[in-house]
Amino acid sequence: MGRKLLTEHINVEGINTFEVYRKHGGYRSVEKALKTMTPDEVTEEVKKSGLRGRGGAGFPAGMKWGFLAKPEGVPRYLVCNADESEPGTFKDRQLMTKLPHLLIEGMITGSYALGARTSYIYIRGELLYVLRILEKAIAEAYAAGFLGENILGSGYSLDLHVHPGAGAYICGEETALLESLEGKRGNPRNKPPFPAVQGLYARPTVVNNVETIAAVPVIVNEGGDEYAKIGIGRSTGTKLISACGHLNKPGIYEIELGLPVEEFIYSDEYCGGIWKGRDLKAVVAGGSSVPILPKELILKTAAGENRLMTYESLSDGGFVTGTMLGSGGFIAMDETTCIVKNTWNFSRFYHHESCGQCSPCREGTGWMEKVLHRLEHGHGSMHDIDLLVSVAKQIEGNTICPLGEAAAWPVAAAVRHFRHEFEWHVTNPKEATAPGAAYRGAAVLA
């Protein structure tokens, strides 16, 4: 049984209230940081912990904090990215619903480390009920003196606001999030300048994922070195994985990084294997935007080693035989799944969510969706399969923000590993478009 750092008390009755949370050791990190540590010491602990961004990119959080420009007399901001909208990812929602005070505690400690006097939680518009929970928790924290003027007599003051988005996936991209928070249309900005220099209201800003910020109290309480002992190599600590799809026990699991993927899928402690006794066909390991891998490659790397739940192990083999840990949205598909249909579905999502600002993504996402629609419905040709790869390549790397890549990768990977299935849709359209039809042939592994 792995250690639970974030979710240890998640099922305690009333843990979403201030009193119960406090009784279970809540807000200790605020006391420790504000009373005994300087802001730089807090940042130093986060650096030592090796904590990496939990939102998808996996950029070291301490390093991000270190990049923050600190000119005299200019306000700085910490913004929490709670715009969790990646298909397959639903960990932040649970964390905020059940443990709102953990996020608030992390925001206070993090803001103190960064010298922010005003901080924001930008929450996805669809999660209005979570917004209410957070607002209630924030009011409790104000009443208890953990927010507002002169927190715990330390002389440090912080205001914390929750701001809802209007339901756009693109606002999870940090610069689009900042634009939206400023009240503008949520279009990603051109970079540079990066948010660390010119972020919210053109001031230095750090944008972190909910889970990243929630890990800060643990790191401050236990020490960065202690946190870094969990995990393997540069993947330290625990990670929330939201497992869904054809599993016996889908749900949210806090795992120690380094857990073998095979154990995660098949052990009773975690997902408990594939449902209905079926065979696993493919896995999307980190939210819909990461490359899909067939069973053989998700359980073992191309070199035959066990695939582990770490940033490095999952990306072993690059985009030829590997994938990414991403945001931890673990989607398992059994043998009855049609990969073409699934890819079309993902593609439809990115087509709908492209902001339309830059041409490759605006036009390319729609194009891919239409071609995939054709293939799925048995009207495609062999030439369409190559066209998909070509369009994906034209989008990838040529866009303003990573949404272009997020749309291109799943398509490119699906064709790479399941080309036979695409070809089967072309050669046997009648069979392939029958309800419940799925190709049972082997996947392409290299």
């Binding site: 249309r185 902001c355 339309g356 041409s359 194009w367």
Partner: protein, 338 residues
């Protein structure tokens, strides 16, 4: 000052210059195309991705190449930077891809489009595009909308460069013009068909790289290549309008009035709606002489004329470089040998 090498040509430019503007100082067909970037408009650029270039050395201090292609219109130069544009195959490939993306939802109605002949997309496609399409699906279409009595918006042709949005934002006091919707369903427009009611609103027609925003007083009057541009001025009473314009003649008639544009199609002085729409008699104007059209466009006497390299830059090059360039010229470095 920063010294950079662009397609093998060295040039020294002021710090803070963008790669695009450094290339424009060299001139010629090595200048990356710009579909959305517009120098007079703050914040423009970076959207169309037509000007992507390869930075094969970031700076003298850190000579590592940049991992991705960068938009040359918004990336500033660093001393010692080495940029590859027309000599880089990847850049050319990507550019072809961008043309394709811009064209898949474009109606290609050039034969009936007022912009034909002075259309940036037409030039861009002619220069970099393919003559066939791989797109078989239905194209996106919109209804035409009148934005007031003088300007018509035809979203079907729009490439969403945002130039008109910035123009309306920066030239007019109240913001009524923007982008609605998202993805390939986004459209430029005004909220519930508001009128852009402002003395400078006509400038959105000039900044539009395609035929999405057209002058209703000129619609279907004449193909632009049959009209003769003449520079003229008048003593304009509108605040901030200098009254320096280009008149487009057919015979004795002034068919339309536009702002004066430079070789990259950029307006240098905004003009007011009175000059643009109301003064269409020769007697309203003091004529200066024929306007020189030197941009690469079919409007240039039906010749597709390649732009010319700034002779000063070539003169300043060390002889070894010139010889190297002559022996092994960058792709289509038109005018270098002139």
């Amino acid at each position: 000052m920063a010294k950079i090498t662009f397609d093998g040509i060295e040039i020294e430019v002021a710090d803070g210059t963008t790669i695009m503007n450094a290339a424009r100082q060299i001139g010629g067909s090595i200048v990356p195309p710009a579909m959305c970037y517009y120098t007079p408009l703050k914040g423009s650029g970076g959207k169309c991705r037509a000007c992507l270039v390869k930075v094969s050395a970031g700076s003298a201090k850190d000579p590592r190449p940049m991992p991705k292609l960068v938009a040359s219109c918004i990336t500033t130069v660093q001393d010692g930077m080495v940029v590859e544009n027309t000599i880089n195959e990847q850049v050319m490939d990507v550019r072809k891809g961008i043309v394709e993306m811009l064209l898949i939802n474009h109606p290609l109605d050039c034969p009936v489009c007022d912009q034909a002949g002075e259309c940036s997309l037409q030039d861009f496609a002619f220069e970099h595009g393919l003559s066939t399409t791989r797109y078989e699906e239905e194209r996106r279409t919109f209804e035409k909308i009148d934005i007031g009595p003088l300007i018509q918006l035809h979203m079907t042709r729009c490439i969403l460069c945002y130039r008109c949005v910035y123009t309306a934002d920066q030239l007019t006091p109240e913001r009524v013009h923007g982008v609605l919707g998202r993805g390939d369903a986004s459209e430029i427009g005004t909220y519930i068909e508001n009128i852009i009611d402002n003395e400078f609103s006509g400038n959105v027609i000039d900044v539009c790289p395609v035929g999405a925003l057209t002058d209703k007083t000129f619609r279907f009057k004449q193909r632009v290549w049959f009209t003769k541009p003449v520079n003229a001025h008048r003593n304009c009473e509108t605040d901030k309008c200098e009254g320096r314009v280009t008149l487009w003649y057919k015979g004795k008639d002034v068919l339309r009035v536009t702002a004066r544009k430079d070789e990259y199609g950029e307006v240098k002085e905004w003009i007011c709606n009175t000059c643009r729409f109301d003064k269409k008699e020769t007697s309203d104007w003091t004529l200066e002489g024929p306007a020189h059209i030197n941009r690469a466009s079919v409007i240039a006497q039906n010749h597709y004329e390649l732009p010319v390299v700034n002779p000063q830059v070539i003169q300043d090059l060390p002889e070894s470089t010139t010889r190297e360039l002559e022996r092994n010229p960058p792709l289509r470095l038109g005018g270098l040998n002139n």
